[in-house]
Each structure stands twice: as structure tokens, then as C-alpha cells.
């Protein structure tokens, strides 16, 4: 399955992927409407280290996902190779946040958990973070 991979060698730590992600998942057709004067609602996070290393973290689509195992409501489920969240079932208990070793899940404005679903849930062909990365640090490929 094609996944989002991050090449830390080329990551500049510009954080554009976070804003492109927030925009792509906002249901707005304008980035200004999606992001201006709002708290950032992204499903990818740049980890910046003081020694100059930057790294974008999003859901790894684990083969044996701990979030799925930990979900008390059965909201997190496997859909082929993808891990998805059933918004109607999520009770926002944060168990998945505790279980995920990558910090890839977070609550959204809709008061349910959100995670990267590789932009399959917002009508895009390739993930917005990959398309918007200025230095090809984020790639969408089979490995």
C-alpha cells in the first residue's frame, strides 16, 4: 500500500504540511477561511529538534495498530490496509492517544478523534501534505 513517508534529510521544518493538511480537511475552499484566526487542526505534526532535525509525523497505518486494540468503543476499525475512525462511535475517551506510540491521533473540532487517512476521506487523489511539500521531503509511495 502507498503510504506517506518522510525524508528527514530534506525536511526544512517549514510546517507548510500542517497548514495544507488543516486546509484539506477543513471543508473550506479557501486556505484563509480554513486557517485564519483558528487553532491549527492538522493530522500531521512537525517535530522540531534544536539540533536542526525536523520530522513530520502522521499515522503510520500500522499492520498491528495499538490504537485499534485500545479503542473501547470499537470506533477504530480496519478498512483494507487503512485504519479508519467511525465518527459516530467515538466517545472521545483518549485511549487511542495513550496507546499510539507516534502521537498520530488527536481530537478534532468535531469532538471526535481524528487521524490522517491519507486524504482518502476528503476527495483528494494524493495527500495534501505531499503535494504541498516544497522540498519533496514528504513522499507518497509504496515501499
Amino acid at each position: 500500500m502507498k503510504r506517506v513517508y518522510v525524508n528527514e534529510e530534506w525536511c526544512l521544518g517549514c510546517h507548510l504540511c500542517e497548514y495544507n493538511c488543516a486546509f484539506a480537511n477543513s471543508n473550506e475552499d479557501d486556505m484563509i477561511l480554513a486557517c485564519k484566526d483558528k487553532s491549527l487542526d492538522a493530522r500531521i505534526t512537525i517535530e522540531d529538534r534544536d539540533d536542526g532535525v525536523h520530522f513530520a509525523v502522521n499515522c503510520r497505518e500500522c499492520k498491528d495498530p495499538l490504537c485499534l486494540k485500545s479503542c473501547i468503543a470499537g470506533a477504530i476499525f480496519r478498512d483494507g490496509d487503512m485504519i479508519r475512525i467511525d465518527k459516530d462511535r467515538c466517545v472521545l475517551c483518549y485511549s487511542c492517544i495513550m496507546a499510539c506510540p507516534y502521537g498520530a491521533l488527536r481530537p478534532t473540532k468535531e469532538k471526535v478523534m481524528g487521524k490522517c487517512e491519507l486524504c482518502t476521506d476528503n476527495g483528494r487523489k494524493t495527500p495534501a501534505c505531499v503535494e504541498g511539500c516544497p522540498n519533496k521531503a514528504i513522499v507518497f509511495e509504496e515501499r
Binding site: W10, L12, C14, H15, L16, E18, M31, K36, N135
Partner: protein, 501 residues
Amino acid sequence: MAINYIYPEYEVVRNYDRCISCRVCERQCANLVHHYDTKRGKMICDESKCVACHRCVALCPTRALKIVKSDHTFKENANWTGEKITNIYRQAESGGVLLASMGTPKNYPVYWDKILINASQVTNPSIDPLREPMETKVFLGHKNDKIVRDQYGRIKCDETPQLELQVPVMFSAMSYGSISYNAHKSLAMASKKLGIYYNTGEGGLHEDFYEYGPNTIVQIASGRFGVHPDYLKAGAALEIKMGQGAKPGIGGHLPGAKIVGDVSKTRMIPEGSDAISPAPHHDIYSIEDLRQLVYTLKEATNYTKPVIVKIAAVHNVSAIASGVARSGADIIAIDGFRGGTGAAPAAIRDNVGIPIELALASVDKRLRDEGIRNDVSLVVGGSIRSSADIVKAIALGADAVYIATSALIALGCHLCRSCHSGRCNWGIATQRPDLVKRLNPEIGSEKLVNLIHAWQHEIKEMMGGMGINSIEALRGNRAMLRGIGLTREELDILGIKHAGE
């Protein structure tokens, strides 16, 4: 605090209706122009630090930024322009030489733009490059005066080493140190893909790039940095740098701050020591001395590689080139006064040398008049900006062109002319690791390949229009050129007629 006489040259205009305070501009500006003010809850900027490199503009996701020239003005004065006045303020403050980068921005005539290209109509058919073969391949090096055959009657055509170019374009000398590792890698990768050559400049060849040796021209400059037997053997050709168009007659100075890590290792000098290239080669004070170095290099490489001698276009360039042609050089590279640099005194860059168009025309004529044009190939550089410039250069007598500024622009350079600061926001003219990584060679090399392919298509179209199907038939074909708005003297030097003649 002393009074600051200098008002910022540029203003950063931010459209707050569009700004989402994502702080990309802040993170991407090595000059620290932008910052987020938590008290006011918005981005603010210090435009006095802005060099107009457009990194923030290009990366702003909502196009909230633009850079405009300040309309703050001195009292109008045609003689004492604002630039002249502020330069005096600067020097009165610092007591130093004004440094500048890239080619001169002064308003000297650009002869390329005063030359027009011919096309076929009715009496001689034009050629469609999409339907018929069109040859852009050239060979650089000493050409035999007559055809020589072996004992079986076959033509011997491998008498002297030649450089084979798929397109008559090469990337000219930019040293590792003046430009970054990733910029060098982009040039090397692109040259390999394109079947052309890039040039190491005077800073030696990084050990990672020896694999690109067959597409590398290794340079030997007055400082002899990074020169050792393996270096000479690694390249496809050797270039002796006698001069540079942007700063004829003077040497170079890479500050110790840039001699770090691999740059120091590649240059073979201690970390932190200034890399000073003397103005002359201290063993070359005559054509005879030059001949000794040319043959020393040929001897060192078993006469397997052509030797290029690069000179700056100065007043007596044709006589100098004639001497160089007799020194045993296989290729003469001439660099015009608009050529770029990573750092040069502004007074030199803006006032010394002559335009490459005139230098090329006079050198080609001189070598033909003396019957030695076939002894050498001519490569010209110093602001070749488009495929049309290349066609005109070849029709004026060049075998190929050197491009550097165009190549850097393809890599993202915005000609902010601040290379000497070492804070290139595009990851090109810097050694700061966080800035160098901004240039991904995978992207960079692809852009260079695209540029040269685009130019190749255009060259073929223009050649086809003239009814010429081989670049060889265009070389020195001045009948294909006409001047526009030029004086009789300029036309005579260029060896072309005026439009309408």
C-alpha cells in the same frame, strides 16, 4: 548610537487579510526579517534586513506577502543618485571595499538584444525539427587542419582529445565553497543526464562527486586549491582559470568562516583559514609560462584530456586569445563582464571588462585572420540568458556557451545578489547546513535538465527556421545575424550588417 543614514531599499508588504500567521516566512528567512509578535498576535517585520530574495513570498501559502522597492527618496539628482549617496554613507561608516555578488546590474548595452536572427522564406526552405533530424551535438577541442588517413585509408579522427556535448551548453565554474554541496550535486547529476559538462571551479572536487568525473571539468586556478593527481585524472577536461569576467585582474577570497568541514578537506587547506586566490598565477607571467602549465597538465594526464584556458573579456582580448591559442590550449573560454560571482568588489564588477558579444566577435575574427581558429574551440560565458543568446553566440563564432547564472536561477536563485553574506535562503550560495538542505538535488537536477531541454527545442526551432539542420553550419554564420540600433563601429566589430541591409 550613531545616526543610521541608510533607509531600507525594500519594503515587505503584508496583506493582513490574507496572513494566517503560519510563520513559514519567519522560519524560512535566514536574514531574520519576519517574526511573530505575541502581544499583537500578528506577524511583523524588519525590512532593513530584507534582501528581496523572495523566499518568504514563494513559500507563503496564502500569497499574503510581496516585496516592493521603497519609494523613499533623496532629492532627485541625475548625477548624485540615491545609490551613489548611500554607497558613500556605507564606506564612510565601514572604511572598506563595497562587496557585491552575481553579474553587474548596471545599465550597459546588451548586444544580444540588439541582434536579430534570420529565417528562410520562399527561396530556401525552412526545416521542421519535429519531422526531420536536427543536430545539436558539438565536439570541443583542437581540430585537425586536414583529413588524415591510416594505412587502410580510413579517416583518423581521434588525433586529439575532444569533449562531446549533446547541446552546446556547459555549466561554468562555480566552486564548492562558493556554492553548496547540493547545488554542486544538482549540476553534476544534470550534466550526466544531459550529456554535457559542469565545472568544479577552483575549490576542488568533493570525493562524493568523483563518480560524475566523465561529466566534470576540473579547474586549476591561481590558488591551486584541491589540486592533486587524482583530481586531474577524475575530470573529462582540465581548465586553467586565468581570469573571471566579473572581476578581471583580481583574485578571490573565500572567508575562513566558509572553510568548514568538507570544504576545507576538498580545498586541502586548514579549517577556518581564508582561501585566498592570488590575482595572477605566480608561475605564469607570459604565454610561454602558460604553455608550460598547459603541457604540465597534459603530461600529467597522458595527453588524454583537452585543456581549457579561461580568460576574462578585457580590452586586448583578441591578442590575448591569439597567444592562448598558441600556448597549446585546446579550448579557450572567454568570460564577459556581465558574468556572475559569489563575491567581488563592486567597483571592479561594475566597471572592468568588456561585453562578451564584442569580445567573441573580435576573438573569432582574429583567430580566423591568423589561420589558427581550428586550433582551438571557443566557449563563451558572461550572461547567456536564453536559447536566442546561444544561437546568436554560435552565429558570432562560438563553439559552445558556458552558463552559470541561468543555471542558478533554474535552481531557485532570485538574483538578490547577496551571495557574499553566506545566508542564501535558497540553499545555493551558503554552507549553513540548515540552508543547504533547502535545495534537494533531485528537484534541482530535474529543473536544470528541463531548462536545457527547453533551450535545445528552441535552438532547433530557430535553426530550422534558418534552413540549417546542424549546429556546425550555424557556427560563425554571421550572415544569419543583423544588428538593430547599432552604430557602424559596433556593426564592424560584430562583423554583421544592420537590419535592412
